[in-house]
């Protein structure tokens, strides 16, 4: 039998996260297929090893271990939720392998074995808030999120940021809901009430996953128009919108690093390939898919540069690798294992797509340690030798955090 290079795919295909993660599994299969069509890697074919961690965090760790030590994969592309990433981290560290993590997250992490291809808060939240303040003249803010770490952190960063810009405490309302919250009547009506204090109000939503559909349905039904109280979301993309009738939601916003509506040649190709691969004309693309696209290409390039799939040389080779992203530029891997991306802000249209209303002029590098948080503002990460440190303290000049 021909020798292959194995690539692990660690995305939930069942359970609550399957809604989001199955697509990522498919896109990985597509990318691998395309790479093989181009002749594989280092003269060998790539082989995808798919497992189902079933939205179950301990199972993620178990499956990661299995992929690395049983299947001997060269790298793993996977995880969505923060906790799933946290649960596999020790495994990747112990067994020294590579994980590509494609989803926007709360930051505050930089690990040698992980490459973060999704957005850090500075690549999504802050530009979005800036846009609303400048373009829409928003003065009053509702920070609504699901009660877990990503929204909590993002809201913390935003709160600090907004207060820094002179927003009064009573003009910020923070609201948390449980996972899978489905009855949004009260909260939407609270938002309505909060928005009727005469100042222009906007909602910054870090509501997660499934809860978005009933939330937007309720918004639509209670007649909250984007012109009155715009909602900007960080977890709502084309895939989520596919489940909603967007006609009443036109004008609500989302901030991402990629939209399907991005008008570039390379994106059009990607979309065509995707539709062909899935055999479904209606399938949409979204930001985490682009993240995998970038991550995978980066890995390919780094492997080619290193001439091997062994972990250590590849990790070293990754830094500085630069590949085209789908928005017409090049994304490159920073020494902190985060990548550079443009930040786009889009408004929902009635066809379920986003119209891009703002784009950062240049690329923004993901900031692993937020500048707006007390404990981390002095930290940086640089995995290049000789520093090789994920939490270097610029004040004390030592690796190993603030203390």
């Amino acid at each position: 039998q021909e020798e292959t290079i194995k690539v692990g795919i660690l995305h939930s295909l069942s359970g609550t996260m399957a809604i989001s993660e199955t697509t990522l599994k498919d896109v990985m299969l597509m990318l691998i297929e395309e790479q093989n069509a181009k002749g594989g890697l280092l003269g060998k074919k790539l082989e995808a090893v798919v497992v189902d961690p079933a939205s179950d965090w301990p199972l993620f760790a178990e499956k990661a271990r299995e992929l690395i030590s049983q299947n001997k994969v060269a790298a793993v592309f996977g995880c969505w939720t923060s906790v799933s990433r946290k649960s596999v981290l020790p495994v990747f560290e112990e067994l020294n392998s590579i994980l590509f993590y494609p989803v926007q997250y709360e930051g505050e992490e930089s690990q040698r074995n992980v490459f973060y291809t999704g957005a850090a808060p500075n690549q999504q939240a802050i530009p979005a808030v800036d846009y609303l303040a400048e373009q829409e003249g928003v003065e009053r803010w509702v920070l609504a999120g699901t009660d877990y770490v990503y929204p909590r952190t993002t809201n913390k960063v935003l709160e600090a940021y907004l207060k820094g810009k002179g927003v009064a405490a009573e003009d910020i309302m923070i609201n948390y809901t449980p996972f899978g919250h489905s009855d949004w009547q009260t909260i939407v009506s609270d938002i309505k009430a909060f928005g009727s204090a005469g100042k222009k109000t906007a909602v910054v939503s870090t509501i997660n996953g499934d809860a978005n559909v009933p939330f937007y349905k309720e918004l639509g039904n209670q007649g909250i128009k984007a012109e009155d109280i715009p909602v900007v979301a960080f977890s709502v993309g084309e895939e989520e919108l596919a489940g909603i009738d967007t006609a009443p939601l036109v004008g609500h916003l989302a901030a991402w690093n990629y939209f399907q509506s991005v008008d570039t040649e390379i994106n059009a190709e990607f979309i065509d390939a995707w539709k062909k691969f899935t055999g479904n004309d209606k399938r949409v693309t979204n930001d985490p898919m682009e993240a995998h696209y970038i991550g995978f290409n980066m890995w390919v390039k780094a492997v080619e540069a290193a001439g091997t799939v062994d972990t250590d040389p590849v990790i070293d080779a990754m830094i500085g690798v630069s590949v085209p992203n789908l928005t017409g530029g090049y994304s490159s891997m920073g020494p902190n294992h985060h990548i550079t991306k443009p930040v786009l802000i889009g408004e929902i249209q009635d066809d379920g797509q986003f119209e891009i209303v703002s784009q950062t002029p240049g690329l923004v590098l993901g900031d692993e340690w937020s500048d707006y948080l007390e404990g981390s503002k002095d930290l940086i990460s640089d995995w290049r030798k000789p520093m090789s440190c994920g939490n270097f303290n610029v004040v004390s000049g030592k690796c190993g955090g603030a203390g």
Partner: protein
């Protein structure tokens, strides 16, 4: 499409007419300014310059402006890159036909890349609506006037006062008139009119609905002179009304949440409450109902779009039949071997629920599916300050209808009697001549079928995904048990109680803590009434 088009042009013509009359009536026979540069300015530059151009266009008072602005909002305006002029087009095809936005004359076709759509964001949309609002304040159509007045109210632009004045004078509809007067008041408050005028304005604003009034007044509560205290006093008046309504609103939210819980639980009240099957696949029956709705809508969308408003009515019986048939199959295939071993039904139905979820995932994919609201289920209406969404209202009505229909079946028909007999003592019922297998299958089918129609209703407010059922299974069990197993009234009262309790806790404790408190409440309540709200008492139970 063509229909919309005619009514659209209809309005536009009328609007133009009205604006002309308005202009004439004011004796401001304005010179026909050249609009072309302003129109072209819509397309050049950033959002700010577009907004400026909109305001310029609105100020011209030209009858054609409303039409052009609507085209802008509808994303039908393009910038022709080669000569930097703005044209109108539907943008369809590779070489769309373009029109002059002012005259409407065709300008032939161009290649798509030459056109650059003028993008619109919320700010632009707002500006357009305000501008169109001012221009359509005297439309003969009352609805148009109402939305125009609302749009103007939002702007609070002093510049709209003259237009409002003349509109108020001509207005015959009392409600719209109050709205316009309020809008005028808001604009006056926002202007640098003398305090005396502003004090009248405060009174005028109070005529608006309390929330709008509050929104406007809060801004002047701190104003210097007499205006501030007057605004403050007015706010205090309004506040009471607001509070009263918000309590009412809360009750409504509670009832509506309760009815969702009721719908989700009611099928379980049969399969679990009456039959004693710990039916973990109940949620999947709900999910199947939702997917039936999806399939029906999909079919309608592709083959007979005209029927879309009837999609739910078509889906209801289908969902009942599909889920019911599924239930019968499950009962015949599995459950019937497990009577007298209730705990094992838990194991088997759990397995089934896994299978059903995966089945749906394999057929329809893991992603959410879009189920639309028919027109009679979308939007909301107001009762006083309470806004009631149609979808919720229909769900409440529907839940209650289902409840009473089921009640009638179980209490008033031989079938109901036999069901209860079979559940109580299967061998004895059989010896009495009751066809137990048939009754079992039908009862389980009925419970499942009802879960299916609950799915139709839930598809209107929830996301239709393979996980839909999982989200409701725990709540459903809580409701049935809280109400008292085997008692349908208990399920009704239990669902409503939990719904209302939840909604009253939520504003104080927040959604998360509120939910925790409701759970703790259930635990404590069961200590007081170990057999649920509507506990059956007496020897009969211990026997």
């Amino acid at each position: 499409m063509s229909l919309a088009r005619t009514s659209f042009t209809h309005i536009v013509v009328l609007v133009a007419l009205v604006v002309a009359i308005l202009a004439a009536g004011l004796g401001l026979a304005r010179a026909q300014t050249d609009l072309k540069p302003l129109v072209d300015a819509l397309g050049t530059g950033d959002f700010d310059s577009t907004e400026e151009a909109i305001n310029g266009l609105a100020a011209s008072g030209d009858p054609r402006v409303a039409d052009i602005l609507r085209a802008l909002e509808g994303r039908e305006l393009y910038l022709r890159k080669d000569d930097q002029t703005v044209v109108r087009s539907d943008g369809k095809g590779r070489e769309p036909e373009i029109f002059d936005p002012l005259s409407g004359a065709s300008l032939g076709t161009v290649k798509k890349p030459v056109l650059d759509r003028i993008s619109v964001n919320n700010k632009i949309r707002r500006a357009v609506q305000a501008a169109v609002g001012t221009l359509t304040l005297r439309s003969p159509d009352a609805d148009v006037r109402r939305s125009a007045a609302l749009a103007v109210l939002k702007t609070r632009e002093p510049a709209t006062i003259p237009a409002l004045d003349s509109a108020i004078a001509a207005e015959t509809d009392e409600a719209i008139r109050t709205l316009m007067v309020g809008a005028r008041g808001a604009a006056v408050l926002n202007s640098d009119a003398p305090d005396a005028d502003k004090l009248t304005a405060i009174e005028e604003v109070q005529g608006l609905d309390a929330r709008d009034a509050m929104q406007i007044l809060t801004q002047y509560a701190g104003a210097p002179g007499e205006v501030g205290p007057a605004a403050q006093a007015a706010m205090d008046d309004v506040k009471f009304t607001l509070d009263a309504w918000s309590a009412a609103q809360n009750v409504w939210f509670g009832v509506s949440l309760g009815s969702v819980l009721l719908l989700a639980a009611i099928g379980l009240a049969i399969t679990f409450g009456v039959m004693g099957v710990i039916n973990m696949a109940h949620g999947e029956m709900v999910m199947i109902g939702a997917y039936v709705t999806f399939a029906v809508q999909e079919l309608i969308r592709t083959s007979m779009p005209g029927l879309f408003d009837y999609s739910l009515l078509i889906a209801l019986p289908l969902a009942f039949l599909v889920a019911g048939a599924m239930g019968v199959a499950i009962e015949r295939g599995i459950i019937r071997f497990l009577y007298g071993r209730p705990l094992e039904t838990l194991l088997a139905t759990w397995g089934l629920s896994l299978i059903l979820q995966q089945l749906i995932r394999s057929i329809f994919g893991a992603q959410n599916r879009q189920v639309g609201n028919p027109s009679w289920m979308s939007g909301s209406f107001d009762i006083g300050l309470m806004s009631i969404t149609w979808s919720r209202l229909w769900i409440v009505v529907f839940a209650i209808c289902v409840f009473f229909a089921l009640m009638a079946v179980l209490k008033k028909t031989p079938f109901g009697l036999q069901t209860r007999a079979v559940t109580a003592n299967r061998p004895m019922a059989s010896a009495m001549g009751i066809r137990t297998p048939w009754i079992d299958a039908m009862t389980f089918g009925l419970g499942s079928g009802i879960a299916g129609i609950a799915g139709v209703a839930l598809s209107q407010i929830e996301n239709v995904s393979p996980n839909l059922g999982q989200g409701y299974i725990i709540d459903s069990f809580m409701v049935v048990v809280f109400g008292g197993v085997g008692n349908l009234w208990g399920t009704l009262v239990g669902a409503l109680t939990l719904g209302v309790a939840n909604k009253f806790l939520e504003p104080y404790a927040g959604a998360v803590l509120g939910k925790i408190l409701v759970l703790v409440f259930i635990i404590l309540f069961i200590q007081k009434r170990p057999r649920g709200l509507f506990a059956l008492k007496g020897r009969a139970i211990e026997a």
